[in-house]
């Protein structure tokens, strides 16, 4: 199913978890920090930024996380395998032209950007960039994605 996107976000919400999808606005070098090295992934305008909340939670941190990455180019941190902090990560993010959800990976520990940790109910979904939008397949029949508009506004007085 194709969903047009511009500045807004696409929320794919299950009963207990959700995915939030947005488009990269301008090309940049995304730094991925592992325990041993730093890698830089070139991402292009129109690529996807996807946040997954495998156990659900508030939407706002996911919105902020997407903007931290796509607008402010905050590096992604990858934890070493078996790191105790893995269980405290409630939001994970991936960036790329095509991203697959998987419930068989340990959250926060895999640097491959084509995979993102999800819950069972949202596992096995492919999200692929298209012109001005995203192609999501397959989508469980009971889920109807919602568009969300969100902007950071700061008033200095």
């Amino acid at each position: 199913m194709i969903y047009p996107l511009d500045d807004e976000f696409l929320l794919i919400k299950g009963k207990q978890s959700f995915l939030l999808v947005a488009l990269v606005k301008i090309s940049f070098g995304l730094c991925i920090e592992t325990a041993d090295d730093e890698y830089v992934q070139g991402v292009e305008a129109g690529d996807l930024v996807v946040v997954s909340a495998p156990e659900g939670g508030a939407i706002e941190p996911a919105l902020m996380l997407i903007d931290l990455v796509r607008t402010f180019h905050v590096p992604l941190l990858v934890l070493p395998r078996d790191h105790p902090g893995s269980k405290r990560i409630s939001y994970v993010v991936s960036v790329g032209p095509e991203i697959f959800t998987s419930c068989s990976i340990r959250r926060g520990t895999h640097p491959e950007q084509h995979l993102i940790c999800s819950s069972d109910e949202l596992a096995g979904i492919s999200m692929k960039r298209i012109e001005h939008g995203v192609d999501v397949f397959p989508l469980p029949g009971s889920i109807i994605p919602l568009n969300i508009k969100y902007k950071i506004k700061t008033d200095f007085s």
């Binding site: 090309s27 940049f28 070098g29 995304l30 730094c31 991925i32 592992t34 090295d37 730093e38 890698y39 830089v40 992934q41 070139g42 991402v43 292009e44 495998p54 893995s86 269980k87 790329g96 998987s102 419930c103 068989s104 990976i105 340990r106 959250r107 895999h110 640097p111 491959e112 940790c117 999800s118 819950s119 069972d120």
Partner: protein, 51 residues
């Protein structure tokens, strides 16, 4: 459910991400790039070359 300590996990080898060494022609930054279109993390230029 995604595991955080149990046995369900994809066991990927440590060398699963293989970057190539690049040097930015604009600012001289050296970095390890992955993906098809390397971009300098310092100046965001795509004018880079294999180091």
């Amino acid at each position: 459910m995604c595991t955080v300590g149990g046995p369900v996990d994809i066991d990927l080898p440590p060398e699963r991400v293989q970057g190539k060494d690049y040097r930015c022609k604009e600012c001289g930054e050296k970095f390890k790039g992955v993906g098809k279109k390397p971009i300098c993390p310092s100046c965001q230029s795509d004018d880079v070359a294999l180091a």
